[in-house]
Amino acid sequence: MAVNTQLAVLGGGPGGYAAAFLAADLGMDVTLIDLEKNPGGVCLYRGCIPSKALLHIAKLISEAEEAKKWGVEFGAPKIDVDKLREFKNGVVNKLTGGLGQLSKQRKVNYIQGRGEFLNSTTIRVKKTDGTAEDVIFGKAILATGSVPVKVPGLSIDSPRVIDSTGALELNDIPARMLVIGGGYIGLELTSVYAALGSRVTVVEMTPGLLPGADRDLVTALSRRLEKKLEKIMLETKVVSITEVPEGLKVKFEGKNVTEPEQIFDKVLISIGRKPVTSGLGLENTGVKVNERGFVIVDKQLKSADPNIYAIGDIVGNPMLAHKAAAEGKTAVEAIAGHKTAFEPNAIPAVVFTDPEIAWAGLTETEAKEKGIKIEVAKFPWGASGKATTMDRNEGMTKLIIEPETERILGVAIAGVGAGDMIAEGTLAIEMGAVVKDLSLTIHPHPTLSETMMGAAEVFYGHATDMYRPRRK
């Protein structure tokens, strides 16, 4: 069986479905292929969405606990894992089902199955029912995303060793858990399990959590996590994991290691993700991948094969859903013949821990590495009225500024709600805003968003809510 289609999209994640939907809206005849019943990809099935549903609960639990300080006591939470899992699955089903609906409404031809390129114009789909269907396309968009990296020797075949996907399934709440990798996925899931009652240890090879992020942002988070976790082991390596009757025996190596052998009920390995480029028949096309396995594309997301575009996690960092979606739209516009290119000034990144950490554009770390001259203006949330009403003064809002033009090159926020607030910073960078634009924009009071305006005022040395005259 074969179908002809103007555009075939392989992979129904945030990149793939955004591309398919826009293409349909532009009047193209579109086929979308994915393994799942509905579009959604990693993000909706085992990434952004289920993790955020659980993080929402985690935050609720920790706030209820903190309420003691304010004179309100709820008592110890009783957790019904089955019901919690049902809630999370409900969220996923609601959203993916919604995408299925949207796909039908747009008359996208959705095929459930595994696709493989036979050549530069055909994808063979092995459907879930065992039959095969050839999709003959004019253009194709490759959006097969990424999967967790497995570590030889550590990723042993045991139900006790899980990756992010396993952790989000929420089969049980282990008494003692080890999280390998202090990146954002590791820390988000750490927050979930710690709130649900697991004693969690995080082990990270580099000297700090969230490698790559500015250190001052991470401090607020590390402090809070230290209180909630059993231990954070930095500059430490896991050298082996063996299954023993009591659980998993884990061996550590590192100069700060006091107990080199410990037993855990579960180990979550979250040390990174890698693009899905094998098993796709790419060798039958002109598509080229680089040494790290990412598909090489130009600014229009066109691969080395002029018929095939690639978007999302499969083309490189940052591996984020909103980047995938934006690339998907650019690729479709390019295919539709629009003069377009993927060239954002800033892609926001958010770590949905508590507090949240978010940044967009240039970071201080990057500026230092590249020797770029910047000025930094920071507004500590100790001076924010709203943060004080919430008893969450640990946050910070920071602007990275081009000294000569006073243009905003980067924005970073640590604190409650940072993820929502970073959007303003992203817009400022995209619009080429200067510090004055932020300081002269009236922000509502009392809100956390005021800290943006506050940071801008700090730059000029006259923030209303704090006294810190400009040094010069």
């Binding site: 629009h338 060239e343 000569e404 033009t405 243009r407 080429g432 004055k436």
Partner: protein, 555 residues
């Protein structure tokens, strides 16, 4: 001297403009480049700068009036020290910055933010830090002398390091007191070049003007996050007078809203070349339009086509002086051919190699098998055989199946063997392409050749049929002639011209023998093909024609 200021040229097809604001009145002192008039055309509102400095005498226009290009706007009196502005062009009033030859890259010019404290006295101008590992420089030009007035940012010396020539701006202002260097002398970084009496906005010891590792523009690696796809034409114009941006600060982000960036892309402008006049250098849609307009004017003025092969058409004489004539519209094919061949001829350094093949034996074989091929529906011609021979030759000489990408410094080697054939039709020259010649035998090729020639003459060729060639053959044998110099069909790199074969006396083994000789002319792109390879290629082809069996052996 009294001079008239006239409304300058505003761009193609703009003949009039409405006066929105008159910015001068009699008695005003105006400087070169100062905005004197704000006008509105149907395209945009622009501020018109004065070309000259002087004192306004009489103003002839009122706000709201319509003005013709060339109309006198006001008169003014110039002193003897009349200075013509470097750049008399209509542009919003900010200080235009012409692009220098060198663009500092990697670190760009990073000036430490001067404290806004003015100090008076005597100040030293020292040779600034010029980049890593540059300790000294040759002073190639000294642009000031004692008594001169210098201003901040004014170029005061031109220096040459082992990396590049750089114009060095002053960071102090005042009257030059003493100059300590001479043209041609060497100066060390930190050495005092001259002193001034005056006001400094950046007290000593400041000097952080970092002009690190300036590299010639062509070699400049793209600065951080900056688009590297500056087209040739844009680079070309970057060196001309259109105000383009010189990165005085590192180009980390494009200071333009996404909508503006999209607009620029849509009209084909590289946003990185546009100078933003908004706060912090922010680029507006108006800035992009002004830049585009500048480019258009430049094109109009120089008659330059978009590819920077700027050969200006000479004005044509009045042919009527010498007799009757008739003008006819060029057909599209003619126009395309003219453009394409001009481009090929202008961009490819051609060499043509001539030689003859003895095809006496081949002719016998051709006659012998001609019938068989005819039965199959083809015609066994020399061209059909040549197509096969050339495809085989391309396998042996892959550089003949290549294309040049000068922008990327790359040669593209093709793994397919598609041969184009120049076909003479009543509408002009067409070059259909026969694909995958290596996978077809001569019978198939001769059939296909018949088909495409017929389609070419019946106007049934599609664009697709004429694209994707590796090499072109042009056979004029049917008409006559001995040799000619075919023009390479860019982006291909070689073409074979075939002329009429004829019997010639050939001296072999002590006697003359009549042999059927085929004259061949091979033109090739000398950028990728060396002369010796050109000769080898044509010899290989000739040997294949002379010993048809060779093809089966080697081809």
């Amino acid at each position: 001297m009294i001079t008239e200021f006239k409304l300058p040229e505003l761009g193609e097809n703009i003949l009039t403009a409405d006066v929105v604001k008159v910015l001068v009145k009699p008695g005003d002192k105006i400087a070169a480049d100062q905005s004197v008039l704000e006008i509105e055309t149907d395209k945009a509102t622009v501020e018109v700068p004065s070309e000259y400095a002087g004192v306004v005498k009489e103003v002839f226009v009122k706000e709201g009036e319509k003005l013709k290009v060339g109309a006198v706007v006001f008169t003014f009196e110039t002193g003897t020290a009349e200075v013509k502005a470097e750049k008399p062009e209509v542009k919003p009033a900010a200080k235009p910055t012409p692009a220098p030859e060198e663009v500092p890259v990697k670190e760009d010019v990073i000036k430490s933010v001067p404290e806004a404290k003015a100090v008076t006295g005597t100040f030293e101008f020292v040779l600034p830090h010029l980049g890593e590992n540059i300790a000294s420089a040759d002073i190639t030009k000294l642009l000031i002398k004692a008594g001169d007035k210098v201003e901040v940012d004014q170029t005061v010396i031109e220096i040459e390091t082992d990396k590049a020539t750089v114009e060095v701006p002053s960071d102090i202002s005042g009257i030059v007191k003493e100059v300590f260097v001479k043209e041609g002398s060497k100066a060390k970084v930190g050495e005092v070049i001259f002193t001034v009496e005056g006001v400094s906005t950046s007290p000593k010891p400041k000097q952080e003007t970092k002009i690190s590792a300036p590299v010639k523009k062509e070699e400049a690696p793209a600065p951080v996050l900056q688009e590297a796809e500056t087209s040739k034409a844009e680079k070309f114009f970057a060196q001309s007078e259109i105000p383009v941006k010189v990165n005085t600060v590192p180009q980390l982000i494009v200071p333009a809203a996404p909508s503006v960036r999209r607009f620029a892309r849509e009209i084909g402008i590289n946003i990185n070349m546009v100078m933003g006049l908004g706060p912090g250098g922010r680029i507006s849609i108006e800035d992009v339009k002004a830049y585009a307009k500048g480019l258009n004017e430049q094109y109009a003025a120089t008659g330059c086509p978009r590819n920077a092969l700027c050969i200006q058409a000479e004005p044509l004489p009045d042919f009527g002086k010498w007799g009757d004539f008739e003008r006819k519209q060029m057909s599209n094919i003619r126009r395309k051919t003219a453009e394409h061949l001009s481009y090929s001829w202008g961009s490819i350094p051609h060499v043509t190699q001539f030689d003859k093949a003895d095809i006496t034996k081949l002719e016998e074989i051709r006659k012998q098998f001609g019938k068989k091929v005819e039965q199959e529906g083809g015609k066994l011609t020399i061209t059909a055989i040549l197509i096969k021979v050339i495809a085989s030759a391309l396998k042996v000489f892959p550089q003949f199946n290549s294309s040049v990408d000068m922008d990327k410094n790359e040669i593209i080697y093709k793994k397919y063997f598609n041969i184009g054939l120049a076909v003479d039709t009543d509408r002009g020259l067409l070059v259909p392409v026969i694909r995958d010649v290596d996978k077809k035998n001569i019978i198939q090729l001769s059939k296909e050749l018949n088909e495409v020639s017929a389609r070419a003459r019946d106007k049934k060729l599609s664009l697709e049929d004429m694209q994707g060639g590796s090499f072109t053959i042009s056979n004029l044998g049917g008409i006559g002639g001995t040799y000619f110099t075919p023009v390479v069909n860019s982006p291909e790199v070689a073409i074979l011209g075939v002329s009429r074969s004829s019997y010639e006396p050939v001296y072999t083994e002590g006697q003359f023998e009549p042999r059927l000789m085929l004259p061949l002319s091979l033109s090739y792109d000398h950028r990728v093909i060396d002369g010796a390879d050109g000769a080898r290629f044509i010899r290989w082809v000739i040997e294949a024609l002379e010993n048809p069996f060779l093809l089966s052996l080697e081809g």
